[in-house]
Symmetry: C2
DNA sequence: TCATTGGTTAAGGAATCACTTGACTATAAA
DNA sequence: TTTATAGTCAAGTGATTCCTTAACCAATGA
């Protein structure tokens, strides 16, 4: 089982904003300069930069400046970290349901318990 | 493709806190009264209640009060909504990589493009 | 009945967030 | 060389977040 550290905080926090999710969706299609990322967004460029900084701080995005244009690309591993945590919870849930079903067939009458 | 509405904001926001993720992990194992949820946590009961309210507000948790004890249970569908969004991004990424690979085999020399 | 247990409400405070404007730098184009 | 483009830095603001304490209510057990 993975450790996740405190990084999940920052990843989920980053994804909790619609603007940043839109940026992620755009970057999934390929690397993009900042100005291109900013174009569809109704906010100032510094605001866009701040969103990019949040995405970079949690490792979801990396960027590189060439000449005067900074190009951003996504880092899919971190996206996967978040997905893994969610998947882990879901499978725990499903396993519990299975055990519950087995137990009911086995020994009906005993109620569900948190420890199960 | 699902709509997700503005609900992803609140779900990811809810998951962006380690205390709330711990609560989710506990609830995955089965329904639990508030006091039991609070026990391992180093904070006041009102603080715990506020976390529960955040989890309920995004639909991740439901609770019911019987007598004087309020029992919380998880709502796995909402967890899945978040997982689905992440999975969608990952598969988009993987499809893009495939197309990129095909294209390179097909016609080497043409660089990658955001629109690909 | 009275104290205890389990939870709730309200108010407030420090920190963080998402955004702004204004001033600025560096590269590229005319 | 001048001008436009692409991005950056700093400071400030209103809203939200996470937590606290204090007071409170309602169910339960002695």
């Amino acid at each position: 089982m993975p450790n996740y550290g405190g990084s999940l905080d920052r990843v989920f926090q980053a994804l909790a904003d619609g603007t940043r999710r839109a940026m992620v969706q755009r970057l999934i299609r390929g690397p993009v300069p900042v100005s291109e990322l900013a174009r569809p967004l109704d906010m100032s460029l510094p605001a866009v930069m701040q969103h990019i900084q949040v995405l970079e701080a949690c490792g979801l995005v990396r960027s590189e400046k060439i000449g005067r244009v900074r190009t951003c690309r996504i880092e899919p591993d971190v996206l996967r970290t978040a997905e893994d945590w969610l998947a882990e919870q879901r499978t725990s849930w499903e396993r519990r349901l299975d055990r519950l079903g087995d137990h009911l067939l086995d020994d009906p009458g005993t109620p569900e318990q948190g420890s199960l």
